[in-house]
């Protein structure tokens, strides 16, 4: 099977997954398209090394690498290790502003905004877990981190979302031990 045929059969079915990840990492349509195109060029080149069965994780790994390379070129500041402290502080500061929170709650894309504001290292594991429904092990391989780190980052991401000022007014969501 030729390279491009392998690519079409094994990788193209995961183009949506690749774009979704890139879209959440770049938070921008055009940048996501560029990243995925770059990833596809790499995938075409290395599709010969892909074993059957793990094409999605394989392609997502390439997309993630393409994103970080793109990031280094275009948004180097974003790669700086962000542990979410800023978000925590924001949460404390604006914790009590019922009017604003109520206003926010009327907006439809509240949670999406909160996810987009997560530092990228937490955002990527959250997207891979909750939207791609990948296992800890798969996420660990894609993000090139130990499974324990996947778990801690996931817990951090969830904690940040649950305590996000954007979400305080959301009904029915237990607010992560703030009560």
């Amino acid at each position: 099977m030729s390279e491009h045929t392998r690519f079409e059969e094994l990788v193209l079915p995961h183009l949506d997954a690749g774009y979704n990840l890139a879209r959440w990492l770049t938070r921008n349509v055009n940048d996501a398209e560029d990243v995925v195109q770059d990833a596809c060029i790499r995938a075409l080149k290395y599709v010969g090394s892909l074993r059957d069965g793990d094409a999605r994780a394989w392609f997502l790994t390439i997309v993630r690498h393409a994103f970080y390379d793109w990031c280094k070129r275009n948004r180097p500041a974003e790669i700086v290790k962000d542990d979410g402290t800023a978000i925590d502080m924001a949460a404390d500061d604006s914790a009590v502003d019922p009017e604003r929170a109520a206003q926010r709650s009327s907006e439809s894309r509240l949670l999406a905004d909160a996810v987009a504001e997560l530092p990228v290292v937490f955002r990527e594991v959250l997207i891979l877990r909750e939207l791609e429904e990948l296992s800890y092990k798969e996420i660990a391989r894609i993000a090139d981190i130990p499974v324990g780190t996947v778990m801690s980052r996931l817990a951090r991401a969830r904690g940040l979302l649950q305590r996000s000022p954007l979400l305080h007014a959301i009904r029915g969501l237990p607010s992560g031990g703030q009560q």
Binding site: N20, R109, A155
Partner: protein, 257 residues
């Protein structure tokens, strides 16, 4: 199971990343512990909300178009894909070419060195022969200022017929000729007198790699010229420029009588 143990397992339980035994234990704990149950519910509720409100972005039509173009491009390039093989051949032929070039260069250098050494040897031999002939008073075997006497004498003893010219009008009087061995070849030697000097001119069929430049060996000048199908090697104690002009004059075809 207590709450400390449960804390690390709640998320894993909610994510389905736990074995059956631990799963049963945590399920039992959650039924009895409200705090842990709230945390567990928090993860599940967040997940439900994420899946409801956080959009999953499918690839845009523009991206699909770009990727299609990429693949089409790869397909077009594909026929030329046995490139590694071609590259290998290119490298191989390149290497072969480089090897050939190196060999040729080495050969040329080698022959140049050999030629140089041979010329050196010829020059040295010519001088030695000239000196020996002078000392032994064996300069001339056929004494004649008449080129028409010298030439047949030489031709009868050689497998070639050297041109013989008397240039007495220019100061170079033909004294006669003899046979010598030069560079393992029997050669004709013409003897000229120029003022008080004696000039030996060794004449042999033209060599492929003939010496070109003037040399000085043990105080004797050795000049060379090519012409009339012959190599001309002149040895004498006359000045270098005179000797060079003379040997070139001899070799020139228009000098033939």
């Amino acid at each position: 199971m207590n709450c400390d143990e449960a804390r690390t397992l709640v998320a894993r339980y909610a994510d389905g990343e736990i074995d059956d035994l631990q799963g049963r234990s945590i399920a039992q704990h959650l039924r009895t512990c409200a705090d842990c149950a709230v945390k567990h519910q928090g993860v599940l509720a967040l997940r439900a909300q994420i899946r409801a409100e956080v959009p999953y972005f499918p690839a845009t039509p523009a991206l699909r178009e770009r990727v299609r173009a990429l693949v089409a491009n790869a397909r077009d390039v594909a026929p030329a894909r046995p490139r590694p093989v071609r590259d290998r051949w290119r490298w191989l032929s390149g290497g072969a070419l480089a090897g050939c070039t190196a060999t040729i260069l080495a050969w040329m250098l080698g022959t140049a060195v050999i030629d140089w050494r041979a010329n050196e040897d010829v020059a040295v031999e010519a001088v030695t022969t000239h000196v020996r002939a002078t000392l032994s008073n064996h300069l001339i075997e056929v004494a004649s200022s008449d080129q028409h006497t010298v030439k047949p004498w030489l031709s009868a003893r050689l497998d070639y017929s050297p041109p013989v010219r008397d240039l007495a009008s220019e100061g170079f009087a033909l004294g006669g000729g003899r046979l010598d061995t030069l560079d393992k070849q029997r050669v004709a030697t013409l003897v000229y007198h120029y003022r008080l000097h004696t000039i030996d001119v060794f004449v042999r069929p033209e060599m492929v790699h003939a010496p070109t430049e003037l040399r000085t060996v043990r105080g004797f000048n050795v000049a060379h010229a090519t012409g009339s199908g012959m190599d001309w090697v002149a040895v004498s104690d006359v000045s270098a420029d005179v000797l060079t002009a003379f040997v070139q004059r001899l070799a020139r075809a228009d000098a033939a009588p």
